[in-house]
């Protein structure tokens, strides 16, 4: 069902959801925005530009207990299956979650992720304010017509089109049943928002057609840009850690004082970090900074597309902002590979 509601009705509904279950939503945090626990609808800021961290942090927390052990071989797996709602996911971040779903379902199913994910209700919203470095318009993620449980779009005139597509969405939207159905005019207004966003979410302009990216990377393995840019790379991993599609993790044990009981947790990792590809004996598959730097762009533009059929950069632009050395703009990197090719 697709409804149209005013701001007051929208807030009434959000407050009802908050009263019923664990709810997260985008809120102001100083002069930035952040997904945080939502206590009242009035705090929800659907007009935000971009959040500091993507909503990934609720689906793959920065530190997550996988199991509790009570000896050398005795353990009990830990799963988080408490239902929750996230309000205000921009389409590019939603696309990132859909990609994580595909990755964690592939091959060895990741039960920790998937069970938590199965209890999540994702309420997306279309972008109202263009952030400093967003380029979702170039990545096909400026808007999505499906993949969410509910999508909220503020249309011209100030009303909200609320598109409820799944059972999970319907389960939290009872009170919207009596709201007016969105008419053709409202849907046309939403289409206009989508078209506009596709055109304006392009702070950086990717010159490479997405389908040509894997081949371009294939040819660019020895391109000088990797070495040039890596000279200025701290290997601090900031680009990884703010990325909505980075999902790599390290696994660590935290043992209690009895040296017997403890927890095994996974913690966010990043392929730019020096120890990422280090293995027993001190061997390191990507010891050089430039190798690690290149790897990130290959992951996003080649390896993951080959694995899940989608470019694993969604154009949120967070890495561009987070990189103090200003070398992490994927658009600059991919465009540079294209220029080099044209020169020959």
């Amino acid at each position: 069902m697709i409804k149209i509601v005013g701001k007051d009705a929208l807030e009434t509904w959000v407050d009802e959801v908050i009263a019923r279950m664990r709810t997260y939503g985008v809120q102001a945090k100083g002069d930035h925005f952040s997904f945080e626990s939502l206590r009242r609808a009035a705090d929800l800021r659907l007009d935000y530009d971009v959040t500091i961290l993507p909503p990934k942090k609720y689906l793959q927390p920065p530190r997550e207990t996988l199991l509790r052990f009570s000896g050398a071989v005795e353990y009990e797996s830990v799963f988080d299956e408490d239902p929750f709602v996230i309000f205000g996911i921009h389409p590019y971040d939603l696309e990132a979650i859909l990609q994580m779903d595909a990755i964690f379902e592939k091959d060895q199913r990741d039960e920790h992720y998937l069970r938590r994910r199965s209890k999540a209700v994702l309420v997306a919203c279309d972008v109202e304010t263009v952030s400093e470095n967003v380029f979702a318009g170039c990545m096909g993620t400026a808007y999505l017509e499906s993949g969410f449980d509910i999508l909220i779009t503020k249309i011209d005139g100030g009303d909200y089109v609320v598109d409820i597509q799944t059972d999970a969405g319907r389960s939290i939207a009872d009170s919207l049943k009596s709201a007016k159905d969105a008419n053709k005019k409202a849907l046309a207004a939403r289409r206009e928002v989508w078209n506009k966003n596709k055109a304006r979410l392009r702070r950086h302009k990717l010159e490479v057609p997405l389908e040509e990216l894997p081949a371009l990377l294939e040819a660019g393995y020895e391109h000088p840009i990797w070495e040039e840019r890596a000279q200025r790379c701290y290997s601090c991993g900031s680009c990884n850690l703010v990325c909505p599609t980075c999902y790599c993790f390290d696994v660590r044990d935290d043992v209690g004082w009895d040296l017997k009981h403890g927890v095994r947790a996974r913690v966010w990792d990043g392929c730019l970090l020096a120890g990422f590809a280090e293995v027993a004996g001190g061997h390191n598959f990507r010891r050089n900074r430039a190798d690690r730097y290149r790897h990130r762009y290959y992951r996003k533009g080649k390896y993951l597309p080959e694995m899940i059929g989608k470019t694993a950069c969604v154009g949120c632009g967070r890495c561009i902002t987070a990189c103090t050395a200003k070398i992490a703009n994927p658009v600059e990197v991919y465009n540079a590979l294209l220029e080099e090719k044209d020169d020959h």
């Binding site: 945090k29 952040s34 500091i52 920065p62 790379c233 290997s235 900031s238 004082w257 990043g270």
Partner: protein, 252 residues
């Protein structure tokens, strides 16, 4: 194996890192289940020359301290350097930026020549004897200290991050200090503090020292982008970074 005997010794420092161990409060009792302290000036009156693990706090500034440290090393199976003064020389090493004797004359004036004030160049513990484990920070993080002790007792290699403060800072959802025009040393400094300072709105001073291969040259480049100078950065690097070496960013 029976409980390892532990002795804690302090050299030139404020003893704040030992205090962090005392600050473990009720967990001290758990700690004492694992190890047996035999000498620890800040917390007990006993003394001993028989120990397995020596924990050394403070920087080394006098020849007699070097001798004492070497004896400690001979007696200990494992030597732990505790805190920034021990691991890097700490803020004591600022002294090495001046001609010998000048800091003493500046601070003590005519009394600078008194024998009890005599001290030389500041050294980190590993500039005098080999160190097995370094517990970084000014002061140390007692949770990290606890994890290191547990690892050692279990015969495992302790987990000590070799990634920058940015990792923990980003995980906490902080806004980068550079966005506010501040010079933060986070990108080149070893994590493990849970990004304590940036999380409270203060730039990183670098008390845990550089990561293994810090790209400090990149930092010099970055200064320009944020309207800062190389001198601004150097002055930040001095407080805890004096005498520390860093790579030229060309390798590794």
């Amino acid at each position: 194996m029976s409980k390892p005997k532990v002795a804690i010794f302090d050299f030139a420092c404020c003893e704040g890192c030992q205090l962090q161990i005392v600050n473990m409060e009720e967990e001290i009792l758990d700690l004492l289940e694992l190890v047996e302290p035999v000498e620890w000036r800040e917390a007990m009156s006993d003394k001993s020359e028989n120990y397995d693990i020596a924990i050394v706090e403070g920087a080394i500034t006098r020849p007699e301290d070097e001798e004492r440290l070497k004896k400690i090393r001979e007696r200990a199976k494992v030597l732990i350097a505790l805190g920034a003064c021990a691991t890097h020389g700490g803020i004591n090493k600022l002294k090495n930026n001046f001609p010998e004797g000048e800091p003493e004359r500046y601070v003590y004036g005519d009394a600078a020549g008194m024998p009890h004030l005599a001290s030389g160049r500041v050294k980190a513990v590993d500039e005098v004897v080999p160190v097995d484990v370094k517990v970084f920070g000014c002061p140390i993080d007692n949770r990290e200290f606890a994890a290191i002790v547990k690892s050692l007792v279990m015969g495992q290699k302790p987990f000590i991050p070799n990634y920058s403060v940015c990792v923990e800072c980003k995980m906490k959802g902080n806004v980068c200090r550079y966005e506010y025009g501040e010079i933060c040393l986070g990108p080149v400094i070893r994590a493990g503090c849970d990004a304590r300072c940036p999380s409270k709105g203060a730039a990183c001073y670098g008390c845990r020292g550089f990561v293994d291969d810090p790209n400090v040259n990149a930092a010099f480049d970055v200064m320009e982008k944020y309207g800062k100078t190389v001198e601004d950065l150097r002055s930040k690097l001095e407080l805890f970074g004096s005498g520390q070496e860093y790579s030229d960013g060309k390798n590794g």
